[in-house]
C-alpha cells in the first residue's frame, strides 16, 4: 500500500502579511485584521442578537468565565503555573467588591476596580509561599484555598456566613453590565496577547521553559512568577467582582469548583496556548452548560467528560485547528 503524508505549506498571503509589507496592501491588511474583527464585532453585537433577559445573563456569565479562562491559559502556558484557583480569584474578588459596595458605599463601577487590584494582591500573597516550590504544589494549594475559605466562612460565620452578603448594588442598567464585561474580556484578551510578546512576556515564558538560565541572568524567578500570578489573579478577581453585581449577592458559591474546572475545559476545547481559544471555548461551553442547568451539580460530570475526551483524543483545540486552516494549505503527498 502506498504511504501518504499530509504536507502543510504557509499560504502566500500569510508569508506576505508577516512582514512590514502588510501595511501596503488592503488585501494583506484585511487578512491580518479579519479574524480579529470577526471576534471583536461578534462579541459587541452579541447583546443585540440575543436580547432576551435570560440570554443576556448567559452572555455576562460567558464573559466572567472567559476572563478566568484567559487567566488560566496565560498562567499555564506562558509562565508554567497550572492554577486550579479560578474559584479563589472569583471568591476573593467577589467578596471584596460586595464589601466595598455594601459597607463602604462605593458604586459598582468604583468597587470593581478596587476589588480587582486589592483582590489580586491578596491572592498573590496567599499563593506566594508555594511559588518557590516546583511541580504540582501550586495547583494543589490553589485548589485548597477556596475549599478552606468556604469552611472558614461557615464555621466563623463571617462575611454573612452561609447566607452571604445581600443587597449588593447591580450595574446601573443591563446594557452597561453587558458592555462592561464584554469590553473587559476584549481588553484582557488582547492585553494578554500583547504582553506575552513584549520583553516582560519573554521573561515570563523563559521562567517556564528554562528557569535556571533566568536565574543565571540575575533575575529572581519567584518575583516574576509573583508578577504573573498578580496579573492572572487580577483577571479572575475582576470576574468575581462583576459577578456579585450581576447576581446582587455574594455568597459561598463564589468559591465553587466550577470556576476552577470549566475554564480549564474551555481552554482545552478552544486551544491551549492561544489565549483566544479559551474565550471561544467559553462561548461554546457556558451556554451548553446553561442548557444543562436542570442537572444541577451533575454538570461537572459533563465538563469532566469533555475534558477527558479532548485529552484522550489528543485534540489540539478549535483555535489551533482554525489557525492552521487559515494560514496554511494542506495536501496529501505520496511518500
Amino acid at each position: 500500500m502506498e504511504q501518504r503524508r499530509k504536507e502543510r505549506i504557509d499560504r502566500g498571503i500569510k508569508v506576505r502579511a508577516d512582514g512590514l509589507y502588510a501595511l501596503m496592501s488592503w488585501r494583506e491588511l484585511g487578512y491580518l485584521i479579519l479574524p480579529r474583527m470577526v471576534l471583536i464585532v461578534g462579541m459587541l453585537i452579541l447583546p443585540f442578537v440575543m436580547p432576551s433577559m435570560y440570554w443576556q445573563r448567559v452572555i455576562s456569565i460567558v464573559c466572567i468565565y472567559a476572563l478566568l479562562a484567559v487567566s488560566f491559559d496565560f498562567l499555564a502556558h506562558f509562565v508554567g503555573l497550572v492554577s486550579l484557583g479560578g474559584a479563589l480569584f472569583i471568591g476573593v474578588g467577589g467578596y471584596l467588591s460586595a464589601i466595598m459596595n455594601t459597607s463602604f458605599g462605593f458604586p459598582p463601577l468604583l468597587a470593581i476596580p478596587i476589588a480587582t487590584i486589592a483582590g489580586a494582591a491578596i491572592c498573590t500573597l496567599l499563593l506566594f509561599p508555594c511559588l518557590r516550590l516546583r511541580g504540582v504544589y501550586f495547583a494543589i494549594v490553589s485548589l485548597m484555598y477556596p475549599l478552606a475559605m468556604t469552611r472558614v466562612i461557615e464555621a466563623l460565620d463571617i462575611l454573612g456566613g452561609t447566607d452571604g452578603i445581600m443587597g449588593v448594588d447591580s450595574f446601573p442598567n443591563r446594557w452597561i453590565e453587558q458592555y462592561f464585561v464584554i469590553l473587559m474580556v476584549l481588553l484582557f484578551l488582547f492585553g494578554a496577547r500583547r504582553l506575552v510578546n513584549m520583553d516582560l512576556g519573554l521573561v515570563l515564558r523563559a521562567v517556564k521553559d528554562n528557569d535556571q538560565a533566568v536565574r543565571a541572568s540575575g533575575m529572581s524567578i519567584t518575583f516574576y512568577k509573583a508578577v504573573a500570578v498578580f496579573i492572572s489573579s487580577a483577571m479572575g478577581c475582576l470576574g468575581g467582582a462583576c459577578l456579585v453585581h450581576i447576581y446582587m449577592w455574594s455568597g459561598m458559591s463564589l468559591f465553587a469548583l466550577d470556576f476552577s474546572i470549566l475554564p480549564i475545559a474551555a481552554t482545552v476545547i478552544g486551544g491551549a496556548g492561544t489565549i483566544v481559544g479559551p474565550v471561544l471555548g467559553c462561548l461554546i461551553l457556558v451556554p451548553v452548560s446553561e442548557l444543562l442547568r436542570e442537572f444541577g451539580t451533575l454538570r461537572i460530570v459533563f465538563y469532566s467528560v469533555i475534558l477527558v475526551a479532548f485529552i484522550v483524543f489528543r485534540s489540539e483545540g478549535i483555535m489551533v485547528y482554525g489557525q492552521r486552516k487559515y494560514h496554511q494549505i494542506e495536501r496529501w503527498v505520496k511518500v
Binding site: L202, R205, A206, N210, R215, A216, S217, G218, M219, S220
Partner: protein
C-alpha cells in the same frame, strides 16, 4: 586597584547523600586573570561552579566576591553582582531566535543599571542591543544566524550564546564550564581570540576545560581537581610535570598529547 582577589573560595565542601563531591576546595581568582580548572570526569568541577554561584547549596565553606561574603546569597543576587556563569549543558531558550535569547538577560536589573551599550546613555531597544552583543561574540551580523531559532543552532553557536548571556549582564567575572568541548579545531581557534579579548576588556575568567592545549594558551594558572580534592595549583608546566596529576590522568590521551607537546 587593590590586590584583593576578585573571587575567593574557602574550604568549599559538598556532599551528595554520602558521596563527597568536593572536599575543602580553596582557590582564588585575581582581577583580570584567567584561571584554568582541569580534572578527570566526575572530579567535581561543575559542582564547584554550581556551589559558588548558588545553583546548588554547598555543605560548608565560604565564597567571597570582592571581599564580600556571598555564601548565603541566592543565585540571582550573585549574578546580579556581576559573577556570571555558563552551563556545561547549554541552556538557551530553544523556542526563541538567538537574538531574542538576549532580551531576557537585558531585561535584568543589572543590565538596566549598567546599561549604556555602545556610546553610553540609556539602554536602547533590547533587540538591537542583543544583535550587537551577538556580533561581538562572533555571530555574523549580516547573516541570518542571529535570527535563527536557538533550537536549530549548532553547538559552536550555542556555546557562544552561553557567553553572550553572561556578557549581556556586563559581568566582572565569568565562570565558563567547558566552552571548548564539542567544538571542532577551527571553531576553537576562532574562540580563543574571543576569550583573550574578554580578558583585555578586564573581565576575569575561570575556565573549566578538558581541551588542555587550548586552555594553556590562555590561562597562566591552573588548578587540578581529582575526586573532589584540589591536587595542585600552578603554571601549566608545573602542573603537567606533577606526578599526582599524571597519575590522575593516567591513560588519558589528552594529557599524553599535551605532555609530548610541552
Amino acid at each position: 586597584m587593590s590586590d584583593q582577589p576578585i573571587l575567593e573560595a574557602k574550604d568549599v565542601t559538598k556532599t551528595f547523600g554520602g558521596i563527597l563531591a568536593l572536599n575543602r576546595v580553596s582557590f582564588h581568582v585575581n582581577e583580570g586573570e584567567i584561571l584554568g580548572i582541569i580534572g578527570p570526569n566526575g572530579s567535581g568541577k561543575t559542582t564547584l561552579i554550581n556551589c559558588i554561584t548558588a545553583f546548588i547549596k554547598m555543605t560548608s565553606g565560604k565564597v567571597f566576591f570582592r571581599g564580600k561574603d556571598i555564601s548565603r546569597k541566592p543565585a540571582h543576587k550573585i549574578a546580579d553582582m556581576g559573577l556570571t556563569r555558563t552551563f556545561q549543558i547549554m541552556r538557551p531558550y530553544y523556542s526563541l531566535p538567538a537574538y531574542k535569547n538576549l532580551v531576557i538577560p537585558l531585561f535584568s536589573p543589572r543590565a538596566k543599571r549598567t546599561g549604556g551599550w555602545r556610546g553610553g546613555g540609556k539602554l536602547g531597544d533590547r533587540n538591537t542591543v542583543g544583535i550587537d552583543i551577538l556580533e561581538e561574540i562572533g555571530f555574523e551580523r549580516d547573516s541570518f544566524v542571529p535570527y535563527k531559532m536557538a533550537s536549530t543552532l549548532p553547538t559552536g553557536y550555542l556555546k557562544r550564546l552561553e557567553l553572550a548571556r553572561c556578557l549581556a549582564l556586563k559581568p566582572e567575572i565569568i565562570l565558563c564550564d567547558e566552552v571548548f568541548s564539542g567544538l571542532s579545531m577551527s571553531e576553537i581557534a576562532s574562540m580563543v581570540p574571543l576569550i583573550e579579548r574578554l580578558q583585555m576588556d578586564g573581565i576575569a575568567l575561570v575556565m573549566i576545560e578538558h581541551r588542555l592545549r587550548e586552555l594553556f594558551r590562555v590561562a597562566r594558572r591552573i588548578m587540578v581537581l581529582n575526586f573532589g580534592e584540589k591536587l595542585i595549583e600552578g603554571t601549566p608546566e608545573e602542573v603537567m610535570a606533577d606526578e599526582k596529576v599524571k597519575e590522575a590522568y593516567f591513560g588519558s590521551e589528552e594529557v599524553e598529547e599535551v605532555m609530548t607537546y610541552a
